[in-house]
Symmetry: C2
Subunit: 160 residues, 2 copies
């Protein structure tokens, strides 16, 4: 009886697990050890200040690095947009708290509707607080679509 209950619980749990994996973009575990691509500061008055004000760093996994170099991003390529508060004091700008961890994950089939890229953002870098969900088309791809010539990616390597 106990074994049957466990089996039933597993079966009941499985569809939810599979659909969560299929529907969304995973938190990019370990991205702080990935290659640091470049950084930028967006300040008050910039058109993207409300969304992306602060200092951001871009990180790329191995497949994304190959994509930057070749211009073609394979499935599994992940780019992280790590946005921190920028704190100004004494003619210096230092990093404050994490505002959001943005993610682009390539899967041509799953994310065909948004250029083959899945998009997600994790508020304050908390893997339990996704903020994009099913709004990727309007919240992310509406801007990234303009970058079609560079595989929908805004950033580029500055060190080769």
């Amino acid at each position: 009886m106990k074994r049957q209950l466990i089996a039933l619980s597993l079966i009941a749990a499985m569809p939810a697990v599979v659909s969560a994996a299929d529907a969304g973009v995973a938190y990019p575990a370990g991205y702080r050890d990935w290659h640091h691509v470049k950084s930028m500061v967006i300040e008050q008055g910039h058109p993207l200040y409300d969304a992306f004000g602060g200092i951001h760093h871009l990180y790329a996994n191995r497949k994304a690095m190959e994509g930057y170099r070749s211009g073609r991003f394979a499935d599994g390529a992940v780019i992280v947009f790590d946005l921190l508060e920028a704190e100004r004091s004494g003619n210096a700008l230092t990093e404050g708290g994490r505002k959001v961890v943005g993610v682009m994950q390539k899967d041509a089939r799953r994310f065909a509707a948004t250029g083959g890229w899945g998009f997600e953002g994790f508020a304050a870098g908390d893997k339990g607080r996704p903020v994009v969900g099913d709004k990727a088309a309007t919240a992310c791809f509406a801007c990234h679509e303009a970058q079609k010539a560079s595989a929908y990616v805004f950033s580029a390597l500055r060190d080769r």
Copy 2:
């Protein structure tokens, strides 16, 4: 005869190689793939602007990462201070050309006079243009000495 000549050439070349390695701090090959520790912008009016104005990123090799965590840096630990121009335009600050690649390399014996750390800077990131040479005590350690309580290192991990 040919073998003798090769042997002689090797012997003749060896002292120069050894003394170059002993005297200085090597260019940190591959540091752009190391862990990105943190970043900061130093602006006009900051007391370090003349020396370090711009946006800098700190990178650490594996031994340096262990050092940040434990507070004790083992021989072979290397920290890179990668300084780029900071270009302000349209309420954003982007990265420009490389000003200098600064290096701290731990070797308690070789660099005993400067807290066990060797210091070098490579102008514009050019491994052929070292700018510190034998001036590490005054050009670098004079400031780093104040950080004795944190192993002469100014930076610290912001992500653990």
